[in-house]
Symmetry: C2
Subunit: 227 residues, 2 copies
């Protein structure tokens, strides 16, 4: 039973992701976005629960990746399709590309576990999925091509070599001060423009994605990147 507890939490992640797709089917984007964010909470818990009970397992890791793809790859992609991509030629392909990049990210991460330490290579799929879901929750509809480009960019960030801090390792990729300041300013400005519950959920995910890009760019100049 002890062994099962973290895997049950992981399965909850998947169930919440399925609910997000089902609410999207019914045109209810607010509930769909809520379930994607709730899935992220479950996803953040399972590893901690496993370590607490001392029952981390290969089975648990496999299950975790599978559930992540549904909740943060497929569900946000289907939300994006139903929200705006459906009116954009090639929108189905962009939705499919988002899920595919998520799968490539997860497969690469699983194979590289243990060889890369201290940072994530590419935007983690929960962050990418939550950016899309919470952006839709805000309810702003930009031009079709801007939205399509945004989904494509976040899809690409997952399979990119942009480095993201994992907040666990002691000797991780250094966090640089100028990127932190720019990120905080941009985040504050978004909240100044649109201070709602939805944007308060959106900004941390967006800021994390933005910070990684800025931090990686600045890292090209100071030579302090972890190898």
């Amino acid at each position: 039973m002890r062994n099962a507890i973290p895997n049950i939490v992981t399965a909850v992640n998947l169930v919440l992701g399925m609910f997000a797709i089902i609410f999207t089917l019914q045109g209810d984007f607010a509930y769909a976005a809520f379930f994607v964010v709730a899935a992220m909470v479950a996803d953040g818990l399972d590893g901690r629960v496993a370590r607490y009970f001392g029952v981390s397992s290969d089975f648990g890791k496999e299950l975790d990746s599978l559930c992540d793809l549904v909740s943060f790859g497929v569900a946000p992609a289907i939300m994006a399709y139903a929200y705006m991509l459906k009116d954009f030629s090639g929108g189905a392909l962009i939705a499919a590309a988002f899920a595919t990049c998520g799968a490539l990210r997860l497969a690469r991460f699983n194979v590289n576990t243990g060889t890369v330490k201290g940072y994530f290579m590419g935007l983690p799929i929960p962050a990418a999925g939550c950016v899309i879901a919470t952006f839709i929750l805000i309810g702003i509809k930009p031009s079709g091509w801007i939205f399509a480009l945004m989904v494509a960019v976040f899809a690409y960030l997952m399979i990119s070599t942009v480095r993201y801090p994992d907040f666990k390792g002691k000797e991780g990729e250094p966090i640089r001060i100028i990127p932190v300041i720019i990120t905080l300013l941009v985040g504050a400005y978004i909240l100044y423009l649109n201070l709602t519950f939805a944007s308060i959920l959106f900004v941390p995910f967006f800021a994390f994605a933005l910070f990684g890009i800025l931090n990686t760019i600045f890292g090209l100049f100071d030579g302090r990147s972890v190898q």
Copy 2:
């Protein structure tokens, strides 16, 4: 490039699965079912392509599982929800349970690879997904609770210990004659009742699922099961 080819075929599997979900969103079950079956063809090819080029990899296996969950777990579950489960209280939970059992099946299979030979333990997820998709393609609408029970049974078969021949191993689980005869009779009878393109697609998947159950039950009596 050679290394990429099988993984591209695997990604095609996922893209087809995403299209199946998108067509379900638009209420077009025929296209959705077609894409699930097409995904199964891509899924059948990737392993062969990898072996042909001699480039089987851990990355490819991880990616394959991830894509299988979307095409044969999530897509058929969402199809089942949109087709009939939505009118059944608890239907969303049954759809989510189908995807969850698919994920458990895939995680178990990946962890056990190399320890169990000659047969599959539990109905493989592509077969379970294709049974649901092609049943919906036939277009018959049974009572809501019968359909819900059917989805639940196929979900359970994936995580069961029912043994399925894998048609590869030389010393696999023996294929017993009486289950073969019963399966052929049932398959022929379904085609006799409803001879359509859809039922011709449905019967092989259904027969495979039924055969495993019968063969496992008969195996309890003859003591010839592989250990």
